[in-house]
Homo-oligomer: 132 residues x 2
DNA sequence: TCAATAGTTCAGTCATCATTGAAACGTAGC
DNA sequence: GCTACGTTTCAATGATGACTGAACTATTGA
């Protein structure tokens, strides 16, 4: 949480240790599902109870995974009434992608060009990339 | 290894199980280092011995991690004399990134725009993205 | 064929992780 | 305050993963 941004809004620059933690967090079936559900749920997030149902795990287990994801900086939480809403940490996810690509680009831009092309096809860059 | 490409050269489309395996493989310090070294080493790859020295692990341990990475589809190997050259599986890495972004894009293109912008700044797309 | 080199496999150990049920905590409404 | 609800923490278990040294396989060169 102490890294400085890299000059591009909405992207969190991460170091190796943080990347390892994030990848390890994503390297678990239920956690990857949680993140996917939260990402598609949008910035408003989703209550833990609904999330447990959507992913198909017990409340206890969900809490365990959410703590792990939160510690990895991939999700955020805020209370709303008696529920707690969890949401995806989009900048961290972008930073993770950027971390992988940073490797790719070291002297060999032609290697990651396919990935950039894939992204461009997936979601064409908008005129205002300053959204978090 | 049986997935069909998605119409973009150099990118391997992956399913959830494959993504989990890949993320889990990257979620280990030594393995992430191995991948980074191999990525920067380029398509020619690097012999296991040199790789062990570069990462700082024993031959036995390196072999263990390489098997894991290979099983996750993130590295390839080929014999060269009495050495075995390992190289990064760039399409798989691109596919992994695309998998994450595919989540981001579900109905909310503005969410992943920062990542695209970051990539564009990192390595501007070339005119020929058909490199593997 | 023999020795040397490069990597891998094997068996075993220690640590970490995923999962579960029960109990505890905090919040909302009566 | 009391009760119901939503969520987290705790303790315990089984499974998986990381690492090590020794033994094994494959290739090269004499």
């Amino acid at each position: 949480m102490t890294d400085a941004p890299q000059g591009i809004d909405g992207v969190l620059a991460i170091d190796e240790a943080r990347a390892v933690a994030a990848f390890a967090a994503l390297g678990q079936e239920n956690r990857l599902r949680i993140v996917r559900v939260l990402v598609t749920a949008g910035p408003d997030g989703m209550a833990a109870g609904r999330l447990a149902g959507a992913v198909g795990v017990s409340g206890t287990n969900l809490s365990f995974h959410l703590k792990e994801l939160s510690h990895a900086g991939l999700v955020r939480s805020r209370r709303a009434g008696r529920s707690i809403l969890y949401s995806a940490a989009y900048p961290a996810l972008s930073g993770l992608i950027q971390f992988l690509m940073r490797d790719c680009c070291q002297g060999r831009p032609e290697v990651c060009a396919p990935a950039v092309a894939a992204l461009a096809a997936c979601c064409p860059p908008t005129r205002d990339p300053s959204h978090a």
